[in-house]
Every structure is written in C-alpha cells, then in structure tokens.
C-alpha cells in the first residue's frame, strides 16, 4: 500500500508541528513521510488483537511526592537565557489582536 500524502495533510501536520516549511521542503516532506508510512505499514502484518499497548516496560505506578519546594529562586540566571526580557519577565509578541 503506497501512502500518498496530500498538500492538505502536510499543511495540517505543519500546524501541529509548529513548523513553516518552504515549498521545496514541503515536497520533500511529502515524499519522506509517505515512504516512512509505507515502511511503518509493515506493522499491519502483525495480529495485535487483544494486545494492550505498552507505554512503559515496567509495571510501575504513578510516582507521588509531597509538593515541597527544594530549590531556590534562580530566576535571574534563568532570565539570562531569555531571547528577550524586561523587568524580570520574558518578553513575547502580542498573543491577541
């Protein structure tokens, strides 16, 4: 089964992935994704009826701990990594019109 990836699909996945691809990149992405999905379709040869999806290899339960602060205030150093900061805050573009 050959997977043909449409322009709409690539647009949609680009939105989900928060990536802006150039025209050339889109064409390449269509080819790459189609080819990978053809390959992944090999999994359909396996009968997995009744098999539980395994997200973790060990039977571990959720790990809880008390919600206690153990680290100090390091905001000054953290803000040094900010692309843009002002008055000890991260600066971002307007989030609404």
């Amino acid at each position: 089964m050959a997977n043909i990836i449409s322009d709409e699909t690539i647009e949609y996945v680009g939105i989900l992935a928060k990536l802006e691809l150039s025209g050339e990149e889109k064409e390449q992405a269509k080819k790459d994704m189609g080819r990978m999905l053809d390959y992944i379709d090999k999994l359909n040869e396996l009968d997995t009826t009744g098999v539980e999806p395994m997200s973790h290899v060990f039977q571990i339960q959720n790990v809880f701990r008390e919600d206690v602060v153990t680290n100090g205030d390091d905001s000054e150093n953290m803000l040094k990594n900010a692309p843009q900061e002002k008055d000890r805050m991260f600066v971002v573009p307007p989030t609404r019109d």
């Binding site: 699909t9 690539i10 949609y12 996945v13 680009g14 989900l16 992935a17 928060k18 990536l19 802006e20 691809l21 990149e25 992405a29 790459d32 994704m33 080819r35 990978m36 999905l37 390959y39 992944i40 379709d41 090999k42 999994l43 359909n44 040869e45 396996l46 997995t48 098999v51 539980e52 999806p53 395994m54 997200s55 973790h56 290899v57 060990f58 571990i60 959720n62 790990v63 701990r65 680290n71 390091d74 150093n77 953290m78 040094k80 990594n81 900010a82 692309p83 843009q84 991260f90 971002v92 573009p93 307007p94 989030t95």
Partner: protein
C-alpha cells in the same frame, strides 16, 4: 610516561599513588585535543580553564582523603545533550546555540561527586536524531580510525573522543543504539543500561520512554566503574528505579562456565556484512571454548522493531521538542508577525532537516484519526517484542549478536537515504523498546582496519552478567589497541 595510554581506572590508581597529578592528566588530554581536534571535531564546547581549576580542587580532596573513588581525578567528556551548570549545552542544534543551563543533570552531578573532571561537551547528531553525527549543526565528527569515515551516532563525539585519547571516558545517551553503535564504530566499550538505572534528570529528552544515559570507555573495567558511579535512584526522574545491585565491578572475573548464551538466527541473515558476521561468531566460539553454553535460536519479530521504534520515538520527540519555541531560552527568529509566526519561524530556522522530519512524522502519527492505526499499533508491537525477549530469557542468560550490520560508513554516504540509515539500527533498537541492558565490546577489525563490535543483551537488571561475560571475552580477545594508545597518538 604515556598517560593517555592508561585506562580511566588505571589513571585514578596512579593519581592515588602520586605517580601523576590530576593537573598532569588534564594537561595531557588537552595537548592531545590541541593536536587532533582540528581534524576530528569531537567537541562542541571545551573548558580548559575550568578543568584546570577543578583539577586543583580534586587533587586536594584526593590528598586529604575526601575523594577515594575508582575514578577520582579522571578527565571526562559529556555528550552535549546533558545539562551542565554554567557550561553551554547545545544538543548540537542551532536552536540551543547559546543555552547555558542553570543546573546539572543528575548523571553529571554523580560524576562530579566522584571527583571526575569535566573537560567539555561532545558533538552528537542534532537532538540525538541520527546514526552518524553528521546531523550536528556544528560540523561532523570524524572517526579516529579513519577520518574518511563517520564515528557513528548519535554519541559519535563521545566515542571518537575516547578512541582518540581526547578524554579518558565519556557519557553518552542511547535511545535506539546511540551509545552502542558509535562504540562499535570507534572500537570502544559502550553500555546502555536497563531503563531507569541512570537518572534522566537534566538529559534533554528525545524519546523519553527509550532514552538512557550510559558510559563509553576504553575497556570493560572502566565501563563497570563508571556505571557504579552514575547508577542512582533519583526522585526527580519518576521513571528512576531503586537498585541495590550496582556494585558492578565486583563481578569482573574470567569465569563464564555454564553461562547460557543464545544467538538469534534472525540477527545473522540478509544485510549483515560477512566480515562482521565472522568476527562476531568467532567471539561466540571463544566464549564457548571457555565453558559457556552457546546455541542458536529464533528470537522472532526482529523486522518489526524499526518501524515500531520510529513511530514511538518520533511521536515522543514531536511532543518533547514542543518546548523549543523561542520564549524562555535558545534561538528566536529575528523577524516575525505575532506569536504563532514567531514560534513557527523560530523552530523552522532553529531545527535541522532530520529533526524536522521526525517532528513531522511524530505529529502525524499522534494526530486524531491516525493515533490508533500508527501510535497504538506501535505500542502493541512493543509489547510483543518485549514478550519475545522475555521468552528468550527464560532459556538464556544473555543474547549475543552484532551491534551493527556493517562497520563505519564513509562520511557523506548516509543522510541522502534516511530509511536506509534507519535500517542500520536493526540490532540495537529492540533493546530500547524492551528496556533491556546491552553492551558493545570491540571484537576485531575489518579489512579496511575499521573496528567491529560485539553486542551482549541481557534481561532487565542483569548488567552484572553482561559485565562478567564482557570482561571474560575481553581477556580472551587480548589487547585492542585504540588510536589513543598508538605511540604519539598518530
């Protein structure tokens, strides 16, 4: 005095016996770096000044008896996806080109506690996505055995640095073979521990359910010593496991009598290079002659591991890499209109082609309408693969096979066909899916003089058995001379 020819454990012993100082060891490493780094490009960031300062502190603590560990004073390199406080951490990506972490990863803290001296951050495939270290935004690393070849990946800088004597040992991370495969290509020892053995806190995530940190070393003894140091239970990593059996160096004996070793027939079929095959089977024969019980069996499902892996790893990557959005750290695009355009442009300019390819695939397999057919199908396949291993380990103490189907490919030959490159992970990838430990040990060289790696795979928590067999094999094999140990390092 050939300092660089010593293993990490030997160096620490000689420091303790006052035959050499920590400073001399650090200087020896940096003089090698000065000579070789221009050609090899093992490192993204080096910190000579910091390392020399740290060397003095460590020396004092060794002399006053505060530091007594097996690796106190030894210069170490850390893969550039582990956070190091105050030292740039890039993941070999443009998007983190100026990121200075405010904290260190737990594995790095454990190294520091034991008195190791961090000299720099090693090159890797961008965000650990690749098998050749060619997807790095900071140039490719070259294989010290032959500079026309890749060192493997994604921990290629770590493997090459150890082989070339640009450090005494290194940390890497392994999501689908990223420690074992470059170890194999560079002729060093590399271990991917049981999932949960080494804390992932501060390791920049790629595929969280598969990622594990582990050592790349000159020999098996060093590997066990480093594992003792970095294995720890950490409440900051909710998948961290409390283990009592981490005295890994206690099992380094040559006794393999009665050890049951299974060789999967499915690992020796089509696609396996004949020289690799013969070398790995010769290693199995050598273990049999020492009293191990070696037999062939059918593991099954081997060809389903790669499609399951790329579905799961890409899905997790697409989620994990959402955080790189140009707001709190890292690169931000120069020109943008509004928030969403800023996100998109930042990410599109900051990520390389392979990273974008996996984020796109991951976003697709997690999208509504495809989630069941792709993502859940892969997780179901993972359960079947785990079961196949469980069955094998009812019969065998460990599984023996190659690390990779070939020796290191030439530079520039892999990236044009990603699917073909992914197929090179066939023997390593299922180990991550099943959370198992695996070790890579050099077992020979091919006609081109490139190293071949032997892989031993154990059941969960059976690192000790792996170390025992690996150590015994290493003794049978005899010395394996690394480029680092050749006279003058040439």
């Amino acid at each position: 005095m050939e300092i660089l020819a010593w293993s990490a454990v030997e160096l620490a012993a000689k420091i303790k016996q006052k035959e050499v100082t920590v400073k001399e060891a650090v200087e020896a490493v940096f003089s090698r770096i000065e000579k070789k780094e221009k050609d090899l490009n093992c490192y993204v960031t080096l910190d000579q000044e910091g390392a020399l300062k740290r060397a003095e502190e460590v020396q004092k603590k060794i002399e006053d008896g505060t530091l007594t560990g097996k690796l106190a004073g030894v210069p170490v390199a850390v893969k550039d996806n582990m956070c190091t406080e105050g030292m740039r951490t890039t993941c070999s990506s443009k998007i983190l080109s100026d990121f200075i972490p405010t904290f260190s990863s737990e594995a790095v803290l454990n190294l520091e506690k034991a008195g190791a001296v961090i000299i720099g951050k090693t090159n890797m495939d961008e965000f650990a996505m690749g098998s050749t270290t060619e997807t790095s935004a900071y140039g490719e690393t070259k294989n010290p055995w032959n500079e026309a070849h890749v060192p493997g990946g994604s921990s290629g800088g770590s493997a090459a640095a150890v082989a070339a004597g640009e450090c005494f040992f290194a940390l890497g991370s392994d999501t689908g073979g990223s420690i074992r495969q470059p170890a194999s290509f560079c002729g060093v020892v590399g271990m991917k521990p049981t999932y949960g053995t080494v804390s992932r806190y501060g390791l920049i995530a790629y595929g969280s359910s598969l990622d594990q940190i582990g050592p790349l070393t000159k020999n098996v003894t060093d590997c066990a010593a480093v594992m003792e140091m970095i294995a720890s239970h950490d409440t900051k990593d909710s998948t961290s496991i409390k283990r009592e059996d981490t005295d890994f160096t206690s099992v380094l004996t040559e006794d393999v009598k009665g050890l049951k070793i299974g060789i999967p027939r499915d690992y020796f079929g089509e696609g396996l290079d004949i020289e690799v095959k013969e070398s790995v089977l010769a290693a199995a024969k050598a273990l049999r002659e020492k009293g191990a019980l070696v037999e062939e069996f059918d593991l099954s499902l081997v060809e389903y591991a790669i499609p399951a892996y790329y579905t799961i790893a890409s899905a997790e990557a697409s989620s994990n890499l959402e955080r790189f959005d140009g707001v709190k750290y890292g690169y931000r695009t120069k020109q943008y209109e509004g928030l969403h355009n800023m996100y998109k442009k930042t990410r599109s300019e900051g990520f390389g082609a392979e990273v974008k390819r996996r984020i796109m695939l991951g976003s697709f397999v997690l999208s509504s309408g495809y989630y069941d057919a792709y993502y859940l199908k892969a997780l179901r396949t993972k359960a079947l693969i785990k079961k196949a291993f469980d069955e094998a380990f009812t019969k065998y103490d460990m599984i023996l096979g190659p690390v990779a189907p070939t020796t290191a490919p030439e530079l520039g030959k892999s990236l044009s066909d990603p699917l073909k490159m992914y197929l090179g992970d066939i023997y390593t990838i299922s180990v991550n899916l099943a959370g198992l430990p695996g070790i890579s040990i050099p077992c020979g060289t091919d006609q081109k003089g490139l190293p071949i790696g032997l892989q031993l795979i154990g059941d969960c928590f059976s690192e000790k058995k792996l170390f025992q067999a690996a150590y015994a094999y290493e003794k049978i094999r005899g010395e394996f001379v690394l480029p680092a140990n050749r006279k003058g390092g040439e």
